[in-house]
Symmetry: C2
Subunit: 362 residues, 2 copies
């Protein structure tokens, strides 16, 4: 069910008893795996150790905002330090990891958590940790863009292994579904599909709801991504049956690795809100089910992190697998992009006519 990597199930890797003990003591899930590629004659293996962090909030949503943020910073620092000790080279945090996922409330005070992508407190923490561990950190935050009229964006800031900000990507597709009133808070991203060339490989970031959009995944692939992260925040009742399908499909269709991350825990807010589903007003957002996992271009995947616990998932990815699978299956070569460029060009015109062949006998 989890596929085969070089003819075998994806293998578990030990990170040693010390890290396992400290994860158990601090009550977060820690798992590690290895994806292999076939040996090549002209290229050495390109193995990168990659980590995914899923976290809950660590102070009640009624606490002062500065305490709420600090509590999450402290927890994430602890897990990122463990990742550093485990030799992780590229790490991705979850969507808006530094705050409660308050968009269910439609209250605007929560935008106080939005911060500068380049100089805000969460980016500063990530820069410090990136420098300390020589690690690339993908830092998905709520961004306040002061230079453009206080526009709010949902942004992933990519911090290089020298602690510098390499660049950022803004979430392309914004949901209007259930309690995900995100279009109330921020706009469709304007940064395209950038691929960040880091010391450890080319990475892209498909933020949350973008995982439902196959062309969003494809955009990062066309720009050369070898690993695409999907930092998310989604709840069980809405999306859990889709969760094992979409990131894995993206890894297959685009011949790259995917690291899918989901927030964890149940977040309760001070004021009751309705959910547009006829049910009484309530104060919680449902359960963020965690279950972060890696998927590979050969259709193999790791097991998931826990449904109800913070966690760190580590995987060694031999990036050579991407080109090997591309050459084996030929999806890029056979994709007929010209046909689709033409189709989409027609589709977006107001006078688009669908290609429908009606049964003439009806």
């Amino acid at each position: 069910m989890y596929g085969w990597n070089c003819g075998k199930p994806v293998a578990a890797v030990s990170l040693g008893p010390e890290l396992a003990a400290s994860a158990a003591a601090a009550s977060y899930d820690l798992q590690a795996y290895r994806f292999q590629a076939a040996p090549e004659q002209l290229r050495p293996p390109r193995v990168v150790r990659v980590g995914l962090v899923q976290n809950s909030i660590h102070a009640p949503t009624t606490a002062p905002f500065v305490e709420q943020r600090q509590a999450i910073h402290d927890r994430v620092r602890q897990i990122v330090d463990a990742a550093g000790a485990a030799g992780v080279q590229v790490l991705c945090l979850q969507e808006a990891w530094h705050m409660p996922f308050a968009f269910c409330t439609r209250e605007k005070q929560w935008t106080e958590f939005a911060e500068s992508a380049e100089a805000g407190p969460s980016t500063r923490l990530c820069r410090e940790l990136a420098r300390k561990h020589g690690m690339v950190i993908v830092n998905p935050i709520l961004e306040r863009d002061e230079a453009h009229g206080d526009t709010i964006w949902n942004t992933a800031v990519v911090v290089g292994n020298n602690g510098n900000v390499i660049g950022k990507h803004r979430k392309n597709h914004i949901p209007r579904v259930g309690d995900f009133n995100e279009s109330t808070y921020y706009m469709e991203g304007n940064t395209g599909h950038p691929v960040f060339e880091t010391a450890f490989g080319k990475i892209g970031v498909n933020i949350c709801y973008g995982r439902h959009h196959p062309m969003n995944w494809q955009g990062f692939g066309l720009n050369g991504a070898e690993v695409v992260f999907n930092p998310s925040a989604t709840v069980g009742e809405l999306s859990e049956p889709m969760w094992p399908v979409e990131a894995r499909n993206a890894a297959i269709a685009n011949s790259y690795y995917v690291g899918a991350i989901n927030r964890v825990g149940t977040e309760t807010f001070p004021n009751a809100f309705t959910s547009g589903d006829g049910k009484p007003a309530h104060k919680d957002f449902g359960h963020f089910y965690g279950s972060s996992y890696f998927a590979a271009p050969d259709a193999s995947r790791t097991p998931s992190l826990a449904r109800n616990k913070d966690g760190l998932l580590v995987a060694d990815l031999d990036l050579n697998l991407c080109q090997q699978i591309r050459d084996k299956w030929g999806f890029r070569m056979t994709a007929r992009y010209d046909m689709y460029a033409e189709q989409l060009g027609r589709y977006v015109r107001h006078d688009f006519q669908p290609q429908v062949i009606k049964d003439p006998s009806l």
Copy 2:
């Protein structure tokens, strides 16, 4: 794991003891399910009974071709008659159902099986059965296009419920992987992404390898398909871990139903051939693992038909679910097609430059 449809697992439906007994006697798998949609105020439910047929070959590949074809025709007639008795309104057969999947051999004599899409023997059989049962039949064959210099195509002919040919679709994406030497035999289709408006709904056909191409699925969606069939022929070693992922992802991403059909059985050929994998020459193509299933836009799906037996899978699909899910999730509205039209337009140019942001500190 198979998701939830209107809050419950997809329900099994009984087709009655007589059909079950005749399926058991004739040794084919028979299963039936029902997908529901929420009641609406302004539209009645639009329930269509849809069937998928998976079949093995029924004469050895050493038999005279006319006998091979007749043996399959006889078997498929038996199963289609059962589908008719079960009240199936739209039925899809598997890819190149009328012949062994001989493309592993790279021998050209097998193209004798190619036939006229409009007037060949397999289309004639489907027209007869469509008229008899008042049923739409999707008839995927190897097509010989005499009018265009004997071009061979991999084609799905859509036969209306009055026995007329509504039109055809030619496979858009042709594999060059493993023993699937299909590019040796036929070319990329030239029929776009037609949607066939039948008496029972709007259908599209994504033939086999096209399931790996998200934009191919999308093309049928943009043209208005409510059910897209994926008649396939694929073997276990190559693709089995992908099989439950891709069609299901397509149903989710495009807010339509998918009927995924795979050939069944192991086909052995007269002359040994190699597979480009360093192994000795051999005479069989591996195991076609059947496992046909339906997937719905709400991420639910049916169990699969058997891995090693012919089969008929029936499902009642309330087509209202497509629009309901489209309105709930909003994937079409949030898809930003203009951005992708522009991206693909750039990508297909020779001077395309990927959007790469290189870490300036490296």
